[in-house]
C-alpha cells in the first residue's frame, strides 16, 4: 500500500495521478467534516473537493513529519468557515435535515428504531447548542475519529489540554441533553 508520504513525494515530483491515492483515502472523512459545517450535501461535496484542490496547490509547504489529514483538515475548516460566514451574511443557509448523523439502528424493531431516532435528534440538537469550541472538539473526536494527538495538531493545543477540553465539552453536552430532555 502506498503511504501518504510516498504519494505526496510523487505529487511533488509532478505525478498528479498519485494525488488520487490521497483523495480516495480521505474523501469520505473530508465530506463528513464539511457536512458538519454546511449541513448540505452538495455544498459539502463542493467544499471538500475545493479543499483537496487547495491542499494540492500547497503540497510544497506540507511538513512530512505531520499527518496529511490533520494538515488537510485545517485547510478544509477554513474554507468551510468562510463559506458558512458568507452564507450567513447573505442569509442563504440551506440545511438539509436528512444530512445529520443517526444512531445505528440495524436489527432493531420499529419501536426501538423510533426511540433511537428521537435520541439521535436530541443528541444532535444538544451538540449544536454547544459553543463552537466545545462542539468542535466533540465532532473531531466522535465524528472524525481523531486521536488526541491529531486533535492537538488540528487545534494547535498541547496534547494534555485535549483531555480537559473534552471533559468540559462533554460535561456541558450532558447538561444540554438533560435540559432538552426535560423540555420535552
Amino acid at each position: 500500500m502506498i503511504t501518504d508520504n510516498e504519494a505526496i513525494s510523487a505529487c511533488r515530483a509532478g505525478d498528479k495521478e498519485m494525488y488520487r491515492v490521497l483523495v480516495e483515502r480521505y474523501k469520505t472523512r473530508a465530506y463528513y467534516a464539511a457536512l458538519m459545517y454546511t449541513h448540505n450535501r452538495d455544498d459539502a461535496l463542493d467544499l471538500s473537493q475545493e479543499a483537496f484542490y487547495r491542499a494540492y496547490k500547497a503540497l510544497a509547504s506540507f511538513d512530512n513529519s505531520k499527518k496529511f489529514y490533520t494538515w488537510f483538515y485545517k485547510i478544509l475548516k477554513n474554507i468551510c468557515i468562510n463559506f458558512v460566514t458568507r452564507k450567513r451574511t447573505h442569509n442563504q443557509v440551506s440545511a438539509d435535515d436528512e444530512n445529520r448523523p443517526e444512531l445505528v439502528s440495524s436489527g432493531l424493531n420499529p419501536e426501538e428504531i423510533l426511540e433511537r431516532s428521537e435520541r439521535s435528534d436530541l443528541l444532535w440538537k444538544a451538540i449544536h447548542q454547544l459553543k463552537e469550541k466545545d462542539r468542535e472538539i466533540i465532532l473531531l473526536k466522535e465524528f472524525q475519529e481523531m486521536s488526541y494527538q491529531e486533535i492537538a495538531d488540528v487545534l494547535n493545543i498541547p496534547q494534555g489540554s485535549v483531555m480537559s477540553r473534552l471533559y468540559y465539552a462533554r460535561q456541558r453536552l450532558l447538561k444540554e441533553v438533560e435540559y432538552l430532555n426535560d423540555e420535552r
Binding site: K27, Q49, Y53, V104, F143, Y148
Partner: protein
C-alpha cells in the same frame, strides 16, 4: 492532594479512559479510584453512555453515484487552476501591449516628463490587472453560485 482535588483530576482523566487513550498503570489506578468513589463512578457511567451513543451516531452513507466523479472534479480543478493562471497572464500581457500601442506616441514623446510616463504606465497596468482579476472573480462566482437564477 486532598480528596476533592483528586476527584477533579480523575474526572478529567476519565476522558482518556473512555477514549482508550491511556493504558497500563494509570488505567488501573483510575479504575481502582472509580470503584471506591461512588460520585466518580456515577460520572464515569454517564460519560461512558454518552460516548457510546455519540460513537454510534453515523452520517447516512452517500450514494455511490456521488463518489464516482469525485476524483474527476478534483482533478479538473487542479488542471483548470493552471489554466486560469496562464489565461490571466496571457490577457494581462496582450492588454498591456495594446495599451502601450495606443499610448505609444505619448510614451515616445521626449517632451513629456519621465515621471508622468511612469505614472501613466503603472496606472494603465494596474487597471488591466484589476480588470482581469474582477473578470476572473465574476466567472468563478458565476460558476459556483447556485442562487444566481434567484431574483433578489
Amino acid at each position: 492532594m486532598n480528596a476533592k482535588l483528586a476527584c477533579k483530576d480523575v474526572r478529567i482523566k476519565l476522558m482518556g479512559l473512555i477514549d482508550n487513550e491511556i493504558s497500563g498503570e494509570e488505567k488501573e489506578d483510575l479504575l481502582k479510584h472509580i470503584e471506591g468513589c461512588p460520585s466518580c463512578k456515577k460520572i464515569y457511567n454517564e460519560f461512558r453512555t454518552l460516548k457510546k451513543e455519540t460513537k454510534e451516531m453515523k452520517f447516512k452513507k452517500l450514494p455511490e453515484i456521488y463518489w464516482d466523479d469525485y476524483w474527476t472534479h478534483v482533478y479538473n480543478r487542479m488542471e483548470r487552476g493552471i489554466g486560469w493562471i496562464l489565461l490571466s497572464i496571457g490577457i494581462i500581457v496582450l492588454f498591456s501591449y495594446g495599451g502601450y500601442e495606443i499610448l505609444r506616441d505619448f510614451f515616445l514623446d521626449p517632451q513629456k516628463p519621465f515621471l508622468l510616463k511612469i505614472g501613466t504606465g503603472t496606472l494603465t497596468a494596474g487597471m488591466i490587472v484589476l480588470f482581469v482579476s474582477v473578470l476572473r472573480e465574476k466567472l468563478l462566482i458565476r460558476k459556483i453560485d447556485k442562487y444566481r437564477s434567484v431574483e433578489r
